[in-house]
Symmetry: C2
Amino acid sequence: MFCHVAPRPRNAEATRAAILNAARERFARESYDDVGMRDIAGDVGVDAALVSRYFGSKEDLFEAVLDSCDNGADLMAGDRSTFGRRVAREVIFQAKSESKLKGLLILLRSISSTKAMELVQRSANRRFYGPFAEWVGGHDAPVRARLAAALIKGMAVTREVTGGYGMDAGQCERMADQMAVILQDLIDGEPAAAQDDGKLSPAA
Amino acid sequence: MFCHVAPRPRNAEATRAAILNAARERFARESYDDVGMRDIAGDVGVDAALVSRYFGSKEDLFEAVLDSCDNGADLMAGDRSTFGRRVAREVIFQAKSESKLKGLLILLRSISSTKAMELVQRSANRRFYGPFAEWVGGHDAPVRARLAAALIKGMAVTREVTGGYGMDAGQCERMADQMAVILQDLIDGEPAAAQDDGKLSPAA
DNA sequence: CCATTAAGTCACCGGGCGTTGACTAGCGGC
DNA sequence: GCCGCTAGTCAACGCCCGGTGACTTAATGG
């Protein structure tokens, strides 16, 4: 038996960090309501009471988790001309445990339990939409940023809610390609993200 | 006082229907976990025990609600050439209480409480994705259908999670216009939904 | 080597949930 | 005008949750 394998050296700071990591992982995979203090504590190997002690309340812990996510900043960091391709592949193919979009997953899962959503609203607006719109830049940046974000989120929802895409590998590839093009056009501000017939805000 | 205003005539069938409607409304506005049997019963004006009696369990009730949603069939019914515009305006501007996308809202809210999501997965695949992909038709219909669905869902998520779009009316209008174009191109199978530079799956 | 202090545990509370079995009240048939 | 049947209510159960105060145990400094 592997009982008491590692009695975990007594170190408040490290334990606190471990709890935070476990919580982030849990909240990315299950919803706010489904994640219990006892679950998180169990992942780390401590008592649930300790989680309450260190973070105050479940809401406070959730807020700390939100703050600990790098909300997609690294996606904006790379080469701008490959943004569409990079993001499309990330959201369509990347394993859930990969870190880049963990904040996005948490955001999606928070569409429940009104409390969690309020916290996410503030965090997302301040820490993601603002910077993203600014990074997109150009004419009607907020509009194009929100459209791009919507496509990204929607694809993530599809994947979560359907548990995969129910398509073969070739179809997934072509879907990623098309998504890449749409995203890239959106952030580049190409003529209305498609052939513009002239009716819609033709110039920048 | 308006106590006992309408003692509700004794009619099992009507009461059952009223419960189902109230439940659909609730599940569209709050998550599976946040909606309680007592809430639903309260909306109708009956005891919570009756809800359990009529529908067996909360899961059974939820499943009945899913079956009672017309999953966007009417969106496909109209003129195909105005699909993009109709849907974009519906998802961006329509009041939540409007019925057409109620199934979509429930789907979004179900991204919690693993139980609800499993039920929604089955229902959505069978009753929405299949028919929608078929309706879209043409080359790689499932791929384009999923892209369009992703954009629609993502925009709904944005609206839900941010509680509006945080933009002025003009920006919302332009966003709806751009979204309409993207959607329309997707279901029309226009060259890669944007000007195709030839690198990506150039032909049909 | 022991006292002190912080790290971690344990038992327990109050509350809300879904669900159940016993009960009450309104309606149709004789 | 009573009877039986069923729609609907009531009280309660068991369960699990988040949170708290009292306790135990490990590390540390003199």
